[in-house]
């Protein structure tokens, strides 16, 4: 069975053998344990550290946000090409270590310097601080029936009104729009 698991992990089975082995894994607790141990050994051999949940997805997203260096194309000497490669490697290592650092940076601090740095990198020379959202995705609901009362009370204190006059009061909605379909 152990030889089979090893072959399964290496992707050496055809479709028929594959389904047999998978159902064997589902039935046999010991085989399943063996499957997990083999993966752990494989990860250890490949130097995979234990990372946080969804690490791969987030790493891919952040790398996608990295700036593309735009420079006019020109004939480069072999020496320069080699230098480019090492520079690119250095930048890559820096980016990866930055991502890694962010991954383990404390998340509870509000507006930490770390995320600011990420945005700065994405749009140099400066960008807004990205404060990590700790909130759940809320349900979308129609406007509350008292929306106009809230808006009147709220806008009375909005500094926006002193900048723009009462135009923002136009957000006050018609009776029909309240408590029914969202506008």
């Amino acid at each position: 069975m152990k030889a089979k698991i090893s072959a399964l992990m290496d992707g050496e089975f055809d479709e028929h053998e594959l389904s047999d082995s998978l159902s064997a894994l589902a039935r046999d607790d010991e085989a399943l344990h063996c499957w997990r141990i083999y993966h752990l050994i494989g990860d250890a051999m490949h130097d995979c550290c234990v990372v946080s949940k969804d690490f791969n997805t987030r790493l891919a997203e952040r790398l996608a946000g990295e700036p593309t260096v735009l420079a006019p194309a020109r004939a480069a000497s072999r020496w320069e090409r080699g230098r480019w490669l090492s520079l690119a490697a250095a930048a890559g290592v820096a980016a990866v270590s930055l991502v890694g650092w962010l991954e383990y940076a404390p998340r509870d601090a509000v507006a930490p310097a770390g995320p600011a740095a990420v945005t700065a990198q994405a749009s140099p020379p400066a960008g807004p601080v990205v404060v990590p959202a700790k909130t759940r995705v809320p349900a979308r609901i129609p406007l509350p029936s008292a929306t106009n009362d809230y808006l009147l009370a709220h806008q009375a204190y909005s500094p926006r009104i002193t900048l723009q006059g009462m135009a923002p009061y136009v957000r006050t909605v018609s009776d029909e729009a309240v408590g029914g379909a969202n506008r």
């Binding site: 507006a111 601080v129 926006r160």
Partner: protein
């Protein structure tokens, strides 16, 4: 050349390390742009004008007429919605009246002390620079006026950004656009026609009401929510508590706390559950740049209304807590301790 290239490649990385060590590096607000904001505030207080503007949000647009009379005996400002269901809002120094002809209702919002409010804010323009980078943009012609653009770029994603266009001569605001952290437009106001000055008192007359109209009046008094057991630990950088009041609306109590960063405001409303006619749903709704988040805490309905991104409004809503006070007051007579 290769040295320059090396710098180009490494500069962003170096910048990140420096920024990471020394805090977020931000572009500076320009003093000229801040002066422009002062000029806009001043124009909003001083000018008489009448004009037509279009309000656009989420694929909808609506045309309205606005008329303002600046008068030493009392300013009057009138807003008439021209598209769809008629609505009219009239603002005097002591109250805002919202006329809804279809339901023959006039909602009256009286706030003593509001008159002094704008004066306080004028001094706070330089505070704005703590939360926004204020810069001058390109000039552009809008509704026949040569306008200067002023851009308020937020320093974090807790607030929206604003692009304002003001008449180069008077400072009158001709266009205001709100944008989100992706740079997308959330809502905008644009004058299509405007006349500065020449406003007479008959142009700002209120909507003619009859005896059959229903008047909803409000009574507003200062309040202290903490004494009543309400704690709002909204740790939202840049937003300060500016006012705390209790409103009696249709003889029902409603507590209100307002936070502001100098431009955007977020209000927290607290009222006992069940005092509204219709059953209440909890979650998020919006009107243009205003997000409204509703939840329930200790038998009370918490409604947070703010001209801020949904996540900011939600964060403030989720920071509302109730702890049983030493001497419970009437408005919180039936809360469940958490």
């Amino acid at each position: 050349m290769s040295r320059r290239l090396a710098w180009k490649v490494l500069a962003p990385t170096f910048f990140v390390l420096v920024a990471g060590a020394g805090g977020p590096a931000q572009a500076q607000s320009s003093p000229e742009a801040l002066d422009w904001l002062r000029k806009i505030y001043q124009a909003t207080q001083d000018l008489s004008y009448t004009g037509t503007f279009v309000y656009q949000q989420g694929g909808h647009s609506e045309t309205s007429r606005i008329t303002r009379l600046a008068d030493p005996h009392g300013n009057i400002e009138k807003l008439e919605v021209l598209d769809g269901v008629p609505r009219e809002i009239l603002r005097t120094d002591d109250a805002v009246r919202c006329y809804l002809p279809n339901s023959q209702t006039v909602k009256v919002d009286r706030r003593p002390g509001r008159r002094s409010f704008p004066a306080v804010l004028r001094g706070e323009i330089s505070d704005l620079a703590a939360n926004y980078t204020v810069t001058q943009g390109e000039s552009r012609r809008i509704a026949g006026y040569e306008c200067q653009a002023i851009v308020l770029t937020p320093k974090d994603n807790l607030r929206y950004g604003y692009r304002l266009w003001a008449d180069a001569k008077t400072g009158m605001l001709l266009k205001a656009l709100t944008f989100d952290d992706k740079g997308e437009t959330v809502e905008q106001f644009t004058f299509t026609e405007l006349t500065i000055g020449h406003v007479t008192r008959d142009k700002v007359k209120p909507w003619p009401t009859t005896r059959s109209w229903h008047v909803e009046d409000t009574d507003v008094k200062p309040a202290n929510l903490e004494q009543q057991g309400w704690i709002i630990e909204a740790n939202l950088p840049g937003f300060r508590k500016i006012v705390e009041v209790r409103t009696l609306h249709k003889s029902l109590p409603m507590e209100q706390v307002v936070y502001s960063d100098g431009l955007a405001a977020v209000s927290v409303f607290i009222e006992p559950v069940g005092q509204r006619d219709k059953p209440v749903q909890t979650g998020l709704a919006n009107v243009g740049a205003i997000n409204i988040f509703t939840r329930e805490v200790a038998n009370h309905l918490i409604t947070v209304v703010g001209e801020a991104p949904a996540t900011s409004v939600q964060r403030i809503a989720e920071a509302v807590k109730y702890v049983s006070p030493a001497e419970p007051r009437q408005s919180v007579s039936n809360p469940q301790s958490r």
